[in-house]
């Protein structure tokens, strides 16, 4: 077989104009509301603290396994690591889930579905990109059918590296997300307002 002049197997990516992901379903809803909008002062800060405390300690995650990482996610929910200690329960319906753990490779065929699921979730919703594939495509990023990172489809809060991440790593990611939730909505109103404007501008860009 003479193949020296043949094209080898790597996939070459052709540059093309920017387009968005195809979106099935409803519009993107509002940014997670802070209570400060309605009343200023010490009451609302305490209220926000209470809200954040509730949210961070009761993150029910969607039973949504994509690939290999799903097995580690199940292991984290299992007896030894036990997600339930953090108040996290696997929940089948996206409407009632708070956290989406994208555990595995997102392909072109799956991407619109992931987007739809994310849109079906009620605010406040959080996303953890679990593993190398969900972060940036991982070992499959050369593939012609693999989305290089779930953050091309939905916004991600916490990235957990690893292929697949150990349960300890996933738990650490969850703790990081809890810290993130804990400070949400507690900034000075002006600053937050500014940020919101910025984020809307970003949204329009996207």
């Amino acid at each position: 077989m003479d193949v020296s002049k043949k094209l080898r197997g790597t996939v070459r990516i052709q540059e093309a104009p920017m387009t968005d992901v195809k979106v099935m379903g409803s519009q993107e809803s509002e940014i997670a509301p802070g209570v400060w909008q309605h009343a200023p002062g010490v009451v609302t800060t305490s209220l926000q603290t209470a809200l954040n405390w509730g949210r961070q300690n009761s993150m029910w995650y969607l039973t949504f396994g994509l690939a290999c990482c799903a097995i580690e996610m199940m292991a984290t929910g299992g007896s030894r690591y036990d997600f339930d200690r953090f108040g996290m329960v696997p929940w089948p319906s996206p409407r009632q889930a708070d956290l989406m753990i994208v555990s595995g490779t997102v392909t072109e065929k799956m991407a619109p579905r992931v987007r739809t699921l994310w849109e079906q979730m009620a605010e406040p919703r959080y996303v953890i990109a679990m593993g190398a594939c969900a972060t940036n495509g991982g070992p499959y990023h050369q593939g012609y059918n693999v989305v290089d990172g779930v953050d091309k489809v939905i916004p991600v809060d916490v990235y957990v590296p690893g292929c697949p991440p150990r349960p300890e790593a996933l738990l650490y990611g969850v703790v990081q997300l809890q810290r993130k939730i804990n400070v949400a909505g507690k900034q000075e109103p002006e600053k937050q307002k500014q940020e919101k404007v910025e984020s809307e501008a970003v949204k329009e860009d996207v």
């Binding site: 996939v11 093309a16 072109e108 910025e198």
Partner: protein
């Protein structure tokens, strides 16, 4: 085991004088057949030689031509048979073996997706692995180019 291989080889040469029959170093009978007789050949090995278990249908792109590789087992005789069929790259049409081995159905659909080989007489010729809005082309061919647009990162502030 080799007696069975000898027997299979004998029967095949007797029945199909044109085909190339050999035995690989791993103890499998290998048949190189022209694509016109694949349906007859398949029926013959299925019914007369008891090769009842189709494990896979693989396509290979050799640039000048495509090749289909069928690997079939005989669960009764513990024998293995490999059938190789060359298909034209541009006009890739070959008879389906799905009516003979039902399990070939999905394997042939996959080859259809990946190499663009059309199977005549296939009961359900639809794409199987590729997405509905597939960009076009047959990914496992060597000249495939990925034409997907680049995507931007999505983010939101909290």
């Amino acid at each position: 085991m080799s007696e069975i291989n000898e027997k299979v080889k004998g029967r095949l040469i007797e029945q199909f004088p044109g085909v190339e029959v050999s035995e690989t170093e791993f103890g499998q009978v290998e048949v190189k057949a022209p694509k016109e007789i694949i349906a007859d050949l398949a029926r013959f090995v299925r019914e007369e030689l008891d090769f009842d278990y189709l494990t896979m249908v693989a396509g290979v792109d050799y640039i000048e031509y495509l090749q289909l590789v069928y690997h079939i087992r005989s669960l009764k005789d513990y024998a293995e048979l490999i059938i190789k069929v060359d298909v034209d790259s541009e006009n890739a049409v070959v008879a389906s073996v799905a009516p003979i081995w039902t399990g070939a159905n999905w394997h042939e659909r996959e080859a259809m997706d990946m190499f663009g080989i059309q199977f005549e007489g296939h009961p359900d010729p639809r794409p199987i692995l590729l997405p509905e809005d597939w960009q076009g082309g047959h990914p496992l061919r060597k000249d495939f180019i990925d034409k997907r647009p680049k995507r931007e990162r999505q983010f939101r502030t909290r």
